[in-house]
Amino acid sequence: MSQMNKTQGPVKRGEVSKLRWTWEEMKNNKTAYFMVAPFLLLFIIFTVLPVFLSIILSLTDFNMLQVPNLVGIDNYMRLFMDDEIFILACQNTLIFACITGPVSYILALLVAWFINELPPKIRAVVTLVFYAPSISGQAYLVWKTLFSSDSYGWVNAVLLKYGLISSPILWFSDADYVMPLCIVVALWTSLGTAFLSFIAGLQTIDRSMYEAAAVDGIKNRWQELWYITLPTMRPQLMFGAVLSITNSFGFGGVVTALCGFPSVDYAAHTIMHHLSDYGGSRYEIGYSSAIAVILFIIMFSANIIIKKALSKVGE
């Protein structure tokens, strides 16, 4: 590959039109394109195409069973002008994302950093302990047992025993408790793939860079972290950030499993829930596509912002 590139040499950008240049580059790297083709095909069919389809559908009144009619931007108008629940869902989603996103991100980073200092054998064990909640499927349902509304639920039983409450609290059916509980559960499950990639990133850092930095006048561990560790593992940071944004915006299934659908008084109703509410129980695929498009835009811009922010790391 690299040899082939060397013999032909990259096409110089200035000499030809942009299209022409791209084509030439593609031809040069055709083996690479060939190898990425299977994935690209699936990616286009199952990810890119649906995104475009949902943009188109969001302009119709499609109801899953009948032929859709074009309605222009009616769905968007209604979404922003005439749907209080959507505004509530946006608010919930943002609260949710703003708390769980950064907190889980920083948590993952800090925990990874600490764990990295441990001896390898212990590190392996501790990594598993922290990673376990996110791989063990529906393990979060243990929270449902813990915070069961029954008077025999664990937390209720303890509180009742010590006389702190007189009747059982309906944890996941009480608007006051739903959101905080869901955030706690989200944080508990959040040490997932991002956390693993951080650990991997930390492992790749060349020890000699720290020594060189020490010579150059790094004074403490924090400076080491900021000037050496983080910039070196920027790709992993980016990967983790994207994951944690998508997770915190798309955190719907766990809430439904814990609080039922919809959550009491829409207390933990996120954009994801709103989407499946309209798509599933109301058969308004057009409208729910509009919601999906909005969610897509929000996530996309959040990613751009994060990317900008991450480029400032170490400066």
């Binding site: 069973l65 059982p168 059916s173 009480d174 129980s281």
Partner: protein
């Protein structure tokens, strides 16, 4: 427009019929007056009845009280034809078959396979309801000998099969002098005999052929079945009996249908739970006795009831005696006889239809086995585990002498324990003419040890291998019967401990509540209830003993046995130290009681899977009889065989079309067939397939093939979208039906007839269908095909829902849930009128809430079963004083309370007969009535502290929640398998009623949750409309619903009760008489929430309001009111989407129904 007019006329007819139907309901309702003694014509069990039932002694105590009473002197016979009292006029004396058929059927049809000649003499026919009483005089005979004493009771009965019969055993309550002598005979069950329809027999003359007996196992034509063929020649007659297990087109075995066969049996009253071996001994003192049989289930014909002196029962002998008896027989050696190999999956008869063959593919040595297919090769995997169930096998030996019985079996359920079977034999010396005997005492306890692998061994009691003497040429039958064997005393100890400690737990609960204060030493258990502590300690010791001996017998402390250890350790801890540990361990105690209950259930279900049985001849070697282990079936395959078996299974999975599961013949595309989808289990789908294909089944009657496909729940929506949907879909929830209907995906089923006539020639070119037009209705019949006289009458919708006497076939409430107006019409003035409502499906299942109650707890507390909410709240303080609760599912209570109070979810519904344009346009929860009902429901939880969230079955089981309201079939199905130790202590009845002042009546209404059978829209363009409609009628008819319900119970056991929506089918399902009465009564008191566009939003906001009221002590009415706007605006938005009438400022929804006049005249 013509069609529309016709539809309107039809709807008018329909509405009139419905109105008439509902008038029938109203008439029966008006007869209820507010008389505290007689509110509801249906009475739940009264306190007195409950107390007498619960207060009855167990047999153990009864027999202890009768210790020292001598057996009676001789047999006393009861003249069954001479009864003194009968509460059912159908109870008749029958002398021969002619009289029986005359006595029973008014319409002249013959219902019995009544083989009476063989047993001439007078008998008495007892139908499935009512009771009969005989008088028995016990005095002194001529010689001055007193007849008083202990007696066994022997009954000779005929299990007749009539239209009243169900799939369950015959059940009778037994009373002496109006009282149940001991609790075990409160319900005695008389077994029926079941045979599989796979057996066919043919006898021909074969003069000159010597007597012979051959058994062959062969594959059927082209591997389409596995057969056992028995050829026997006796006295020049040759009989070929063929047992066929047929297969579907991908090679899986099909369930053989089991049929109850009417037969004579003799039965001694004895313990069915398996704890007391031998018969019950009744103590009869001198004087007149009234002997009563109270019908619980199924008709029976009784020929004789005899009181046999208690010592005179069939004598049993020990194995030693048995051997000695046969020692004198010269020919002990049987070595010239053949080994008889019996495939266990071919029983000749079984005691219960759930005892049926099944598949096991865990070993390549199983016989028969084909890798990758589910071929029936074993018996006993499921459904063959309750005490008393048996399977029987016939065999003949070719040389007289001693034989061993060997089996290849697998017992991998009870870890570290063993399972017992009783072996009975009949034929020759063991009893002629259907009487089976246990050859020797030890045969009660044949042990099957635990192992993860298959085992092969001769039957043994763990100490010695048994030998059996068989004579050449005699046809023997062996019965393998589930029994507790030697386990019974341990299980009984555990059950006793459970009952005693649970009672102790409830008493502690009364003192401390569910959350005792751990730090308080003020409870003083030792002073307040020393007996409770003693009981717990006693039971700890009893359990410890049981555990110790179990461990000894089994040789290990396996996981199953070790459970007992943890339990008695806790009992010991709780009971000792003057009860100091009670407070800290109360909730653990409760969960351990649950564990103990499960342990008992597990231990009682004696599951052992049998692949094959051998009757192996023994040989005399050096003057000694020897077992020959080499004659046992091969136990396990070698490594390479196993690997190859798995490899074949893996690769064949790529080639098997699992859609063809249960399909017996390929349906070619060009053959006229309909596609039917069913989202359910495999068993359910196979039952429907069998019923469709059976003789006289749907295909037979209509000539239409059915491609039945088992699908998963969410498949329907995408299939409609991609235009690949079925013609008929079985069991779609009513809300979904309406969702699909308003989006044109479902066809309305009333007024389909014009479509047939218009397009009849185009669609049905086969000339199979002729149309009769009588009285303005259409009847579709099928002319004979290929000379076969088959016919299926297709009824119009209005004849389907109400029978000829004007009685409902489907509850109006159920039909309402699948009806909606298909749209609107504008006249020339721009006035909008809604089209008359159309029915979009036929109700298939109907669930509704009923009230379950623990009779023992209520009897203990001296409380009647509450009939109204006032009653319920008046006994609440008594329950709460004892730390008990009432469990009401708030989701259903919120809804049914509104209807009980006379409210409605909607301001107008189609069925109100108001202009349908307003129907479903606004909710009516903001009416005074509905708000009051809502407020009352909320107060149940906030003021009366009903628990919002609870584990219903578990608390009902412990008795903490003696009254429970929930879906009847779900709860029943759960309790009947989960809480077997309280069997007979609970019942269910209709919901408590609300008193309505305006009518002066109580309203007991429950709400119907319906699933329906529907026709999808694409059906018509495929030309399948008529067959689809016919299938739908056939499938929801009473006959098929009942047959399906009974078949599924037969296969899956009593916990698979089918909640049919066909009111006429309930009678034929296997509920007991009192259960049927309760269900039918609730079905008479039924409402439903009609589905309209936007329906989904109501329950959501109602439960938000409820939770707000309960969580935050908000005013319930204000909370509900705050959501009314949101609900209505969502409904209006949804209506606008479908172009329906929407209230505006100029024309709001009229506020009062009474003053409202429809603006548009039709």
């Amino acid at each position: 427009m013509k069609n529309k007019l016709f539809q309107k006329v039809l709807c008018l007819i329909l509405s009139v019929t419905l109105l008439l139907g509902s008038m029938g309901l109203t008439v029966s309702a008006t007869s209820l007056k507010y008389d505290p003694n007689e509110r509801n014509p249906y009475k739940a069990t009264t306190l007195e009845e409950m107390q007498s039932l619960v207060g009855t002694l167990p047999y153990a105590e009864y027999s202890a009280n009768n210790a020292g009473v001598k057996p009676g002197p001789y047999v006393l016979k009861l003249d069954v034809t001479n009864f003194t009292e009968a509460t059912n006029s159908e109870i008749k004396v029958v002398k021969d078959s002619e009289v029986v058929s005359n006595a029973i059927t008014q319409d002249g049809s013959n219902w019995v396979d009544f083989d009476y000649d063989a047993n001439a003499g007078s008998s008495i026919y007892l139908p499935s309801t009512g009771s009969v009483t005989w008088s028995l005089k016990v005095g002194e005979n001529a010689e001055g000998i007193s007849e008083a004493g202990l007696y066994y009771i022997k009954i000779e009965y005929f299990s007749c099969i009539t239209p009243e019969s169900s799939v369950s055993p015959i059940e009778r309550g037994f009373l002496i002098n109006g009282k149940i002598p001991f609790s075990e005979v409160a319900s005695i069950s008389l077994d029926k005999t079941w045979t599989f329809d796979y057996i066919s027999s043919e006898t021909t003359d074969a003069p000159g052929e010597p007597d012979s007996y051959d058994v062959d196992y062969v594959w059927g034509n082209g591997h389409d079945s596995y057969q056992k063929i028995v050829t026997s020649v006796v006295d020049g007659k040759k009989t070929v009996t063929t047992y066929t297990l047929s297969q579907d087109i991908i090679g899986n075995s099909m369930s053989p249908g089991a049929e109850a066969t009417p037969s004579w049996s003799t039965y001694y009253l004895q313990d069915e739970t398996g704890y007391h071996s031998g018969n019950f001994a009744f103590n009869l003192i001198e004087g007149d006795h009234q002997i009563t049989f109270r019908a619980e289930r199924d008709p029976v014909i009784i020929k004789s009831i005899e009181f046999v002196p208690a010592e005179n029962a069939e004598e049993t002998k020990s194995y030693e005696e048995y051997l000695k008896e046969h020692e004198s027989l010269a020919d002990k050696d049987a070595s010239s006889g053949d080994i008889i190999f019996i495939e266990a999956e071919f029983p000749d008869a079984v005691s219960d239809s759930s005892v049926s063959p099944s598949n096991d593919n865990t070993s390549p040595v199983n016989s028969p086995v084909v890798s990758g297919t589910q071929l029936y090769n074993v018996i006993g995997e499921t459904g063959f585990s309750s005490i008393g169930q048996w399977a029987s096998y016939k065999f003949k030996v070719t040389d007289s002498g001693f034989y061993n019985l060997g089996m290849r079996f697998k017992q991998s359920v009870l870890q570290g324990m063993f399972v017992c079977r009783t072996l009975k034999l009949s034929g020759g010396e063991y009893g002629e003419g259907g009487t089976a005997t246990v050859p020797f005492d030890e045969a009660y306890n044949l042990k099957f040890d635990y192992s993860d692998n298959w085992q092969s061994s001769y039957v043994t009691d763990g100490e010695q291998v048994f030998r059996f003497y068989f004579e050449e040429g005699v046809e023997y039958t062996m019965y393998l019967e589930c029994s507790l064997g030697t386990l019974k005393e341990y299980i009984q100890a555990a059950e006793n401990a459970l009952l005693e400690v649970n009672a102790a737990y409830l008493r502690i609960l009364q003192l401390t509540g569910t959350d005792p204060d751990e730090n308080s030493d003020s409870y003083n258990f030792m002073e307040v209830m020393p007996d409770v502590l003693i009981t717990i300690l006693e039971q700890a010791v009893a359990l410890e003993q049981a555990h110790k001996s179990l461990k000894e017998i089994c040789g290990t402390n396996g996981q199953h046995i070790a459970t007992l250890e943890t339990i008695y350790t806790l009992f010991d801890k709780v009971g000792s130290k003057n009860g100091e540990n009670i407070a800290a361990n109360l909730s653990t105690l409760k969960s351990y009681l649950g564990t103990l209950g499960t342990w008992i259930n597990d231990s009682k279900s004696s599951t052992v899977m049998v692949d094959s049985i051998v009757v192996a001849p023994m040989k005399v070697v050096d003057g000694e009889l020897k077992e020959d282990e080499s004659k046992l079936p091969r136990v396990e395959a070698n490594f390479f065989e196993s690997i190859w078996f798995e490899i074949v299974a893996f690769f064949s999975s790529f080639f098997i079309d699992y859609d063809k599961m249960g399909v017996t013949a390929e349906i070619e595309e060009n053959i006229e067939h309909i596609d039917v989808w069913l989202a359910s289990g495999r068993d359910q789908s196979q039952i429907w397939r069998t019923m469709i294909d059976a003789q006289g089944g749907f295909t037979d009657k209509t000539g239409v093939s059915v491609a039945l496909k088992l699908v998963t729940g969410g498949t329907l929506l995408p299939s409609i979208l991609s235009r690949k949907g079925p013609d008929v879909y079985l069991g779609l929830g009513s809300a979904e039906v309406i969702n699909y209907a308003i989006r044109d995906a479902v066809l309305g089923v009333n007024g389909l007839e014009p479509r047939f006539t218009d397009e009849q020639n185009a669609i049905f070119t086969t000339e199979r269908y002729t149309y009769k037009n009588a009285d303005g209705t259409f009847e579709t019949t099928l002319t004979p095909i290929d000379g076969k006289e088959v016919s299926f009458t297709t009824l119009p919708f209005n004849k389907l829902i109400v029978d000829e006497y004007g009685e409902e076939i489907f509850s109006k409430a159920a039909l309402d849930t699948v009806m909606i107006s298909p749209g609107i019409e504008k006249d020339e003035n721009g006035k909008i009128t809604a089209l008359p409502a159309v029915c979009y499906g036929l109700p298939r299942t109907m669930q509704f809430a009923m009230m379950f109650y623990r009779m023992d707890v209520l009897a203990d507390l001296g409380q009647e079963v509450p009939e109204s909410w006032d009653d319920l709240l008046s006994i609440l303080p008594v329950l709460q004083a004892n730390n008990m609760q009432i469990g009401v599912s708030y989701v259903s209570a919120l809804d049914f309370m509104i209807y009980q109070e006379g409210g409605n979810m909607w301001k107008y519904t189609d069925t109100d007969r108001y202009d349908a344009a307003y129907a479903g346009a606004a909710i009516d929860i903001d009416s005074e009535v509905a708000l009051a009902a809502f407020d009352f429901t909320c107060r149940l939880y906030s003021d009366y502290s009903f628990p919002v969230s609870y584990d219903a079955a578990n608390r009902f089981r412990t008795g903490e929640m003696p009254i429970l309201i929930g879906s009847y079939a779900d709860l029943y199905n759960q309790l009947v398998v989960y809480a077997t130790e309280i069997a007979g202590l609970w019942e269910f009845c209709s919901l408590p009623g609300s008193y309505r002042e305006e009518t002066g009546e109580f309203n007991y209404n429950s709400l119907a949750q319906v699933t329906a059978t529907i026709i999808l829209n694409g059906c018509e363009s495929r030309g399948n409309l008529l067959p689809a409609w016919q299938f739908m009628q056939w499938e929801t008819a009473a006959e098929q619903s009942a047959e399906f319900g009974n078949r599924i119970v037969a296969i899956m056991g009593p916990s698979a009760k089918y909640e049919t929506a066909n009111l006429n089918a309930i009678d034929d399902l296997s509920w007991t008489a009192s259960e049927k009465e309760a269900i039918m009564n609730q079905m008479d008191h039924m409402s439903s929430i009609v589905n309209y566009p936007g329906s989904y939003i109501i329950s959501r906001y109602v439960s938000f309001a409820f939770l707000d009221a309960v969580n935050n002590d908000a005013n319930a009415i204000d909370a509900m009111r705050s959501y009314i706007g949101a609900i209505n605006s969502e409904i209006e938005r949804k209506r606008a989407e479908f172009g329906l009438w929407v209230p505006t400022e100029e024309e709001p929804v009229p506020p009062e129904k009474e003053t409202y006049k429809p603006p548009v005249q039709q």
